[in-house]
C-alpha cells in the first residue's frame, strides 16, 4: 500500500519533470535549419525521394548500423541463451492447425514475402524500407510457424543470410571510405535518375541487405523461442 502510494508519488514527480519539459514545447511552423538542409539538398546530395530513408541510410548511416547490430546481438544472445541441448526431447503430440490457417499460409506466405521484398527494395522511393520489409518477411515465418508448429526453420541458412548480408553492409560502408566521401557514403554508385528504382547510389543495396538481415534475424529470434516452447511441452 505504502509502496504503491510511494510509486504514484514518484511518477507524479516524473510527470512534473515532463511537464516542465513540454511547457515550452509547441509545434513550430518551420523546420530546424538541419532539417531544412536535408529537405532542400537531400535530393541533390543523396538522390532518394524518401528523405527519411536518405537520413536513415546515409546521413545517419552509423546509427542504422548500430540498430542492425542490436538485432544481430539479440538474435545471437537468445540463440546461446535459450540453447537447448538436443537430448532425446519428448515431443508433445502435434497440435493440428485449422484448415483455414493451413490454406491461408500456403496462399499468403509467398505473397507476404514478395510484399516484404517490395517494401525494402523501394525503401528509397516510397514509405518503408529495410526494417519494415524485414518485419513483413518475418511475419511470413510467423504464419508458417502458426500453421505448422513442427516447422523447422533451417538455422544454418538463416544464419548465413544474416551474416552475409551483415558483412555486405559493412563492406559497402568500407567501400564508401575507399571510393567516396566516407564510411557508408552512398555515392560509391552513381546517383542515377532521381525517383527511379536503381537510383540513390548504394541505398537500395544497403536497404535490401538490411531487409534480408532484419527479416532473417527476427525469424531467427522467433524460431528460437519456438524451439524452447517445443521442448517445454
Amino acid at each position: 500500500m505504502i509502496r504503491n502510494f510511494f510509486i504514484i508519488l514518484i511518477i507524479a514527480g516524473l510527470a512534473g519533470v515532463f511537464v516542465s519539459l513540454f511547457w515550452e514545447f509547441g509545434a513550430s511552423d518551420t523546420l530546424t535549419p538541419l532539417a531544412t538542409h536535408y529537405a532542400n539538398n537531400g535530393a541533390a546530395e543523396v538522390g532518394a525521394p524518401n528523405l527519411v530513408t536518405s537520413i536513415v541510410v546515409t546521413y545517419r548511416g552509423l546509427d542504422t548500423l548500430g540498430e542492425v547490430t542490436i538485432l544481430f546481438l539479440v538474435a545471437a544472445i537468445i540463440s546461446f541463451f535459450l540453447k537447448v541441448e538436443k537430448k532425446g526431447q519428448k515431443m508433445a503430440p502435434p497440435r493440428v492447425s485449422s484448415e483455414i490457417i493451413l490454406t491461408a499460409s500456403k496462399l499468403l506466405v509467398p505473397v507476404v514475402l514478395v510484399l516484404g521484398i517490395y517494401v525494402f527494395v523501394n525503401g528509397h522511393l516510397t514509405p518503408g524500407g529495410g526494417f519494415q520489409g524485414g518485419a513483413i518477411i518475418a511475419t511470413a515465418f510467423v504464419l508458417l510457424l502458426m500453421a505448422n508448429p513442427r516447422f523447422e526453420l533451417n538455422h544454418r541458412i538463416i544464419a548465413a543470410v544474416e551474416s552475409v548480408s551483415g558483412m555486405a553492409f559493412v563492406l559497402v560502408g568500407v567501400l564508401g571510405i575507399l571510393l567516396a566521401g566516407g564510411f557508408l557514403d552512398n555515392k560509391i554508385l552513381p546517383l542515377g535518375h532521381f525517383g527511379k528504382l536503381f537510383s540513390a547510389g548504394a541505398i537500395p543495396i544497403i536497404y535490401s541487405l538490411v531487409g534480408l538481415k532484419v527479416g532473417s534475424e527476427l525469424s531467427n529470434i522467433l524460431s528460437n523461442f519456438q524451439d524452447v516452447q517445443k521442448d517445454e511441452l
Binding site: F25, D29, A43, V52, D63, G129, F131
Partner: protein
C-alpha cells in the same frame, strides 16, 4: 493536434512506468516497458511535427526543390525508426530472460528472485 499527441505520449509513458514499477509479474512489467516505449515513439514523432506539413517524401505534391516549407521534419522520423528497433530488441531479450527465469524457478514473480541482496 500536436497537443493531443503530446498528452497521449505523456500518459502512455507514465502508465507504462507505473506498470514497470508496480506490477509483480515479470511479463506485465515487460508490457509496461512496451507501453513506455510506444509513448516515447509517439513523443518523438510529435516533436518532429510541423503545422500543415506532409510526409517527407518528395513526389508530385511536394516537388523536388526547396520543399522545406511543405514537409514535416524527417529527422525525428528517422530517429523513431531506430528507437523502435532498439525497443524491439530490448523487449525480445527481456522476454527471453523471463522465459529463462520461469524455467529456473517456475515463477514469474519478481519478488521470487532475491538471492542476491545487501
Amino acid at each position: 493536434m500536436e497537443t493531443i499527441a503530446l498528452i497521449t505520449s505523456f500518459v502512455l509513458i507514465l502508465i507504462g512506468l507505473y506498470g514497470i514499477l508496480s506490477q509483480k509479474n515479470i511479463l506485465k512489467m515487460i508490457v509496461g516497458f512496451s507501453l513506455f516505449d510506444t509513448g516515447l515513439h509517439v513523443l518523438i514523432v510529435t516533436v518532429g511535427y510541423i503545422r500543415g506539413g506532409t510526409a517527407p517524401i518528395l513526389d508530385q505534391v511536394t516537388g523536388t526543390s526547396n520543399v522545406s516549407d511543405k514537409i514535416v521534419d524527417p529527422i525525428p522520423q528517422a530517429l523513431v525508426l531506430t528507437a523502435i528497433v532498439i525497443g524491439l530488441g530490448v523487449t525480445a531479450l527481456m522476454l527471453a530472460y523471463a522465459l529463462k527465469m520461469y524455467q529456473e524457478k517456475q515463477s514469474l514473480d519478481i519478488r521470487d528472485f532475491k538471492e542476491l541482496k545487501w
